[in-house]
Amino acid sequence: MGRMAFLKMSADKQDTLLKMLVLAVCCILSFSVRLFSVLRFESVIHEFDPYFNYRTTRYLAEKGFYDFHNWFDDTAWYPLGRIIGGTIYPGLMVTAAAFYNVLHYFNITIDIRNMCVFLAPMFSSFTTIVTYHLTKQLSNSGAGLVAAAFMSVVPGYISRSVAGSYDNEGIAIFCMLFTYTLWIKSVKTGSVFWAVLCSVAYFYMVSSWGGYVFLINLIPIHVLACIVTGRYSHKIYVAYTTVYSVGTILSMQISFVGFQPVQTSEHMGALGVFGLCQIVSFINFLCARLSSAHFAILWQTMLYIVGTIFIGAVGFLTLSGKIAPWTGRFYSLLDPSYAKNNIPIIASVSEHQPTTWSSFYFDLQMLVFMFPVGLYVCFKNLKDYNLFIILYGVTSMYFAAVMVRLMLVLAPVMCILAGIGVNHVLTTYMKNLDSVAQKDKKGRTKSDNSYPMRNEVATGVVVMMTIFLSLFASHSVWVTSEAYSSPSIVLSARGGDGGRIIFDDFREAYYWLRHNTPENSKVMSWWDYGYQITAMANRTILVDNNTWNNTHISRVGQAMASTEDKAYEIMRELDVDYVLVIFGGLTGYSSDDINKFLWMVRIGGSTDRGAHIKESDYYTPSGEFRVDSEGSQVLQNCMMYKMCYYRFGQVYTEQNKPTGYDRVRNAEIGNKDFELDVLDEAYTTEHWIVRIYKVKDLDNRGNPRT
């Protein structure tokens, strides 16, 4: 019966139904491929920053928007506190809280944590739909479907949007593509309606991610390219002036953005193109009204006057020292390697690394070469709106090559252009397959399109594309499962018998803090764990991942790097009740505090009060960082060392090794038998990954304990 109904449908309806089915499958796929971590572990928030977003969302859902906006958080950066409402992009939290409230209105009582965990996969489903529409605007709906399918599984995007990675990027890519779709729509129609919608989408984008700066520069570049290539029209004028003026005013409503759109240099390009649009339109107007001879006179005088004024202004400002266009600084803007070569700290952050070809292949696979094919197709059939996607592709290509985290911005355009490329190849060869070609024969004589073995070649191409596409799908799922699905709050390892061992020490420790310490106690830890402690243990912390105050972090670093009596003074001064350290020596968890310790020393010694802490004291005379008996004495008597290795000297960790064998550093520790004077061990988790110490009070006579 159902089959009969399908056959009875007109071709148009069948076409729509098929497209909707394919899109629906893409959406479901993009949601479900991101659930690896939920299925393997459980529905948890990942990593560090998402915990802060989660905590703020919970606050927003409980207290409402006005309290959220005026929120002064006194449990972080003790005793300074932090203004939260004005220093974040609120789009993510508002979105999650809005979904939460709507669902609760319909009596679907979802937990706010689950809302946060599943927000990113949900938005990636939306992104596939938007990708379809954007590609349809640029090419046709076939290309749109291919692009949507690419988008649903491309690893470069999955890396930032798996379930549990509750971060700004998760929704920002959706906002960005949505804004682009509406921009293309408004360029095509030239209507104020679409342009205003585009600026509203832009507002959403600004509210959710700092990367909106890319967008507000790309659209003006598109307009500029249209002007230069003579494709400028009234449609573009209407679209751009509306988007720029409405969008800028809207974006200034976000308190974190404030007056930046009219003050900072990265927004000046958009303003300049806005001005240029007015001038070009005025010239076009004059050109239409005046005779060509008069216009030529006017044009030349204007050119000379403007040129003289410009050169004069530049010369004056250079001589008076206001601007310096010919110094090294100017060229450093053009050369991305400048900052990296001269400032080692920038070079050491892994997210700021440039991108190797293998990570391009890892994140994009066949898109790497289908992208130029798509460019080729776009260039063969150049339109105003195609120009946009070409510019988007080439500029984001450059940024992704300079910095690996910007792969996220490149992935969508890769999908779109590769979709156009694949669609082009498939449509040309599908026509040549025999079953389709026979229909043609009835209508007309054999076309001149043919060549010997046409059908065989066509079959070959179609089979090849099928293999490539399925390889892409397998590759993406493999990459997602291998590389992008570990929550890092729950660790897992392979045991000796091949089974999976779960280390859940972080949550064990945070919940211990939550249930066993006084509510107003202050916990000192290195800044990496700040967001997690405030979100899960609900205790006041001294420093967190929003590293806005370097001297405060430095003070904590000094406490960790000093001897017990010095550290005790600092901890009394900072009013610390508990100290938390991460230790991997028992399990072999390598990103623990001993491995981060040199950063604590460097940062601790970087301020005036920590001038006595010198990095070189923590090395052996030959310049090595060692924890065994040959290591530096300063290191073996500092607070961090003692907290990590307290009682560790009595423990056997590996067969055929002495007690106190550190499995990360692969060494037997040097300082085994010691007692702590100013601290009590309060709690150590099952696998010793987290150790918590209580700071002793002054003794009965009010003297320190050392």
Binding site: G230, T355, T356, W357, Y361, V394, A401, V402, T428, L471
Partner: protein, 327 residues
């Protein structure tokens, strides 16, 4: 004759012994400073070997301080940052030489690893470049070694450190680098000239093939990691020091060699050309005889080079489970 010569030598030696012993500290100092001034007038950064270093920097008496750069400029040593650090150091030294603060209380020196390995050993240096200040009075402290890791080797930062250590404030004067400006002006005038000559037919500017080829070239360059090469400067290939085997492909996915990126760029380009051939087959202006060649050629190119790309990737990422045609 011989006897005279011998006695003359004896006499000279005797003279030396005679004059050296009662020479006061003051005189020795004066001589040293005089010698250093002469050298630094010739070259602001004094080249130092083992003996010079021992005489003028290590040994007392001294009433001047010396800032020494320890470096390894020999290309054999493969220290890529040394040259840049050396340039910055020279800029600082020259700025000092021509500044009002110039006096005989501070000198700049350089010790190359190949001239004084034992100096490196005695100072416990195991990396180059390093900047160390030898103060006029008192012992050398830990802060007298400049922390390159933290501050980088920009001349301004070294000058700041120098001001802290020696209380001599120098304003860095960079010889203006006109190279970039000249190139820019040349480029602009060339482009302007070209536009002026061909002002009646600016078609090439609107020629989309030109722009298309350009942007595809940019994309191929970026996806094959040329930007990484530009920033990191890896070697072209790697020679294993033990057995002399030459590797063109870096063994891990964290790094890459230049040869490998060129290979990947060629492979990607070949696949794109293959697809372009496949799409040109349906161009109605093409002869029928060529079509078959184009179609089959394109197909073979695409499949072969994609298999090659996967196999190159497998060399870097050993646990990668997929392959096509080529293992």
């Amino acid at each position: 004759m011989n006897a005279i010569k011998g006695s003359l030598i004896l006499f000279i030696i005797g003279l030396f012994c005679h004059t050296a012993s009662p020479k006061t500290k003051q005189e020795v100092l004066q001589e040293k400073v005089h010698q250093l001034m002469e050298w630094s007038n010739r070259r602001t950064v004094i080249q130092m070997g083992g003996s010079k270093f021992a005489n003028y920097v290590k040994s007392k008496p001294r009433n001047y301080s010396v800032i020494v750069m320890f470096t390894a400029l020999n290309p054999k040593r493969g220290c890529s940052v040394c040259q840049e650090a050396s340039d910055e150091f020279t800029i600082l030294a020259n700025s000092y030489r021509f500044s009002p603060a110039y006096s005989n209380s501070l000198f700049f020196g350089v010790v190359d690893f190949d001239d004084g390995q034992d100096i490196f050993r005695t100072l416990g240096l195991n990396s180059a470049p390093a900047f160390i200040h030898f103060p006029a009075k008192g012992k050398r402290k830990a802060v007298d070694t400049y922390d390159i890791q933290r501050y980088g080797f920009h001349a301004d930062n070294i000058a700041k450190w120098m001001a802290e250590r020696t209380e001599i404030v120098v304003r860095i004067f960079r010889p203006p680098n006109y190279m970039g400006t000249v190139v820019l002006v040349l480029l602009f005038s060339l482009a302007g000239g070209l536009l002026y000559v061909r002002r009646n037919s600016l078609d090439f500017f609107y020629n989309k093939t030109f722009w298309g080829v350009l942007s595809i070239f940019i994309v191929l360059g970026m996806t094959s990691g040329q930007m990484w090469n530009h920033i990191r400067g890896p070697p072209y290939y790697h020679r294993n020091p033990q057995n002399g085997a030459i590797h063109y492909i870096h063994g891990s996915s964290q790094g890459q060699l230049v040869a490998e990126t060129h290979l990947v760029m060629l492979i990607n380009a070949a696949i794109v050309v293959g697809f372009a051939l496949l799409s040109e087959v349906h161009n109605p202006e093409m002869e029928v005889s060529k079509r078959k060649v184009f179609a089959i050629g394109g197909l073979v190119m695409v499949v072969f080079f994609f298999s090659l790309l996967i196999s190159v990737f497998r060399r870097k990422y050993q646990s990668y489970p997929y392959s096509l045609l080529i293992r």
